[in-house]
Symmetry: C2
Subunit: 454 residues, 2 copies
Amino acid sequence: MQNQMTGRLRKAPENFVQGDGVATVFAEAKAGRRSFIRSAFAAAAAGAAGTSALAQGGQKASSVGDGDPNILEMPAHTKGLGQPVVTDGYGKPSKYESNVQRRQSPGLTQTRQASVSFAPLQSLFGIVTPSGLHFERHHQGWWDIDPSKHRLMVNGMVKKNMVFTMDEIMRLPSVSRFHFIECGANTGMEWGNVAVPTVQYTHGMISCSEFTGVPLITLLEMAGADLKKGKFVLAEGADGSSMTRTIPMELITSGEVIVAYGQNGEMLRPEQGYPLRLVVPGVQGVSWVKYLRRIEVGDMPYATKDEAVHYIDLMPDGQHRQYTSIQECKSVVTTPSGGQMLLDKGFYNISGLAWSGRGKVKRVDVSVDGGRNWRTARLEGPVLTKCLTRFNIDWVWDGKPAIIQSRAMDETGYVQPTNNQLRAVRGTRSIYHNNSIQSWALREDGEVVNVQLA
Amino acid sequence: MQNQMTGRLRKAPENFVQGDGVATVFAEAKAGRRSFIRSAFAAAAAGAAGTSALAQGGQKASSVGDGDPNILEMPAHTKGLGQPVVTDGYGKPSKYESNVQRRQSPGLTQTRQASVSFAPLQSLFGIVTPSGLHFERHHQGWWDIDPSKHRLMVNGMVKKNMVFTMDEIMRLPSVSRFHFIECGANTGMEWGNVAVPTVQYTHGMISCSEFTGVPLITLLEMAGADLKKGKFVLAEGADGSSMTRTIPMELITSGEVIVAYGQNGEMLRPEQGYPLRLVVPGVQGVSWVKYLRRIEVGDMPYATKDEAVHYIDLMPDGQHRQYTSIQECKSVVTTPSGGQMLLDKGFYNISGLAWSGRGKVKRVDVSVDGGRNWRTARLEGPVLTKCLTRFNIDWVWDGKPAIIQSRAMDETGYVQPTNNQLRAVRGTRSIYHNNSIQSWALREDGEVVNVQLA
């Protein structure tokens, strides 16, 4: 991690950047609200010291906090009668936030039914992902299934096959827990050293929600599952992709795996598997089977198409990594990030997300010099297991080029690797499970671009 | 709390129940998804014991988990191609959830611009309130203010008056925290012993979100506020209601009060004060000034119209309770709750919410016999300070009349009072701050109705 200020600036492939979504986001990010293009900020100019970093930011006199009070003179909303209470529908964001959307990457997929949309991480705060901005990954499109007709079957190595209605499931003892879900392919373009321009596209296949549902172990106990011989469970979705994945029984007996119907306080969204999806904390998203219709208990892995052919990684020795499931510890700075512009030096709040499929995030360090020096960031509470953790750290930009990185450590002691450390183990031909340190280069002109350090 | 099975059944006033919103919710709640009207549930019939309560529920044979597997035969969504990824807008709930909405109570207010809409607590899970269902309380309607034109002024007992743009505020060190917001008038109809039919209307002026913003103390320090003589702060909103409230300085120096722009991961919604609102954890919602445009530091309470004339309670001795701010410990069972139907005996998950403006919820007890016997419920994590806490407890209904209640205790040792305990102190002429134990009577026919016990 020493002396790595030489990050190559990479040109993004034409077909990727020219895609409608990417180009739009890129343009909007350069021009937009999160670009900090207003006059420079300097705390000392305000006549008082805040934090020490705020005070450091004071080397440049500026007009911050010194705005024209005339703008406070009676705008329309101060004089008039506003809109009535919203009772004829479901509330929506401000019209000024219409650029904050999930975006598809046209370069990655052939059809929009078997595609991905990315969450706008550069515009999000805290750890909860609004359900309307939750990333999507469909294998054969999404459906709005009538919950009164949906059923969940439990079969295989059980005393009695069972078929549950939604009402029956919703009468059972429930739990509510916050967890992240990350597609195994998140940050996959970095394997190929593709300069994906914004954090929405590098890391936007992750979201975090409060899920509510019934622990799967409750259903297995009701069906009299053989928990000694039954070492694995097959989870099957009802949509046309016939998504099927093997789940190790130890994840289920721990009580962590949930048959979920609730997400962020309401019922699951159709794009997320309404009315029922499996929640497998810490495990890659493909195992969180949507439109869940069947659970089968078995004594060996099922080697389904979705785990034997898809979602495998080619290792340097020619073998495939299979049944990869746990999402290792990872982090990314979301502000400032690719496509954003810092138009003047001074104080900034560097903010980002960290997570681990093995437990809680223990620490996040941030470097602004490509890994030569690291400072420990502040973690926003609550820090929960297998959940996003928001970090923040003060920074005063001196106007010189910088490379901004974050490095997370989880409670097992695992440290997020550099690109070289990851490739030493996994080679360069993987698609999935890239959790290496992300580098954002800040140029002298204030533009932030995606670079890849060793 | 002994022998209180005599809860009066109360007839709701015509003008309240006949209101469009109430009638609709009442009808839907009786017929709807959360009504558990499907065949009875019995774990023993499944051939395996789950929890002990599940086993107890087995006294009645039933068809639960014994559904017709033929329904698994190839529905359209298993054969066809679904909808493409959603990239042309903001995601929405399922069409089957269209009855889950915030509702206005026409009987309570004269105009919809100075009105209330209630969150559908009976349909919500966990602790996060989806922003599209967050309760509303407007004094002169809501606005979608252009954030590029919005300013926040800090003045009064400060070294330098300051005016901040949104961009300037968003560059400052930020925090993200989960807190509930409750209107001081929530459950106010219970003072008058009005049989508000559903929990949406009895308790739906509460919501809970993850808020992101800048601690107010940071802004005050930047402006050089006099933190010794400055004992109070005035918060002023930009909308036509000129909402102004006094906030004691000790809440601000603790770092708890936030000038927030983020809510549940995205920017605030217009109905909630976009682009800036004050977050005053534990304090009644009226102090969470929306469209925040000015903070003034002063040495005495401001006695504004919103704290001297409105939001006051008449005590038995003829004096008014003023500057009431902290929302005391409170809880409510949301399922089963008023308007819902239990059509058969057997196992149920009793679920509800608890909160305290003084800290964390320590314990919630649940009674099904009107307060004679209490069992301690399971609290879902994380249990956070001045935040909603979800509780759950197993229950097997024997088919006889029951009165379901919850009673919360916070970390200060304060216990949620009965109606009589509260009235002994506050009398009967208050409007605000009713935090007494809520009672739901379950009739033999399975209907759940709002009753008031002593």
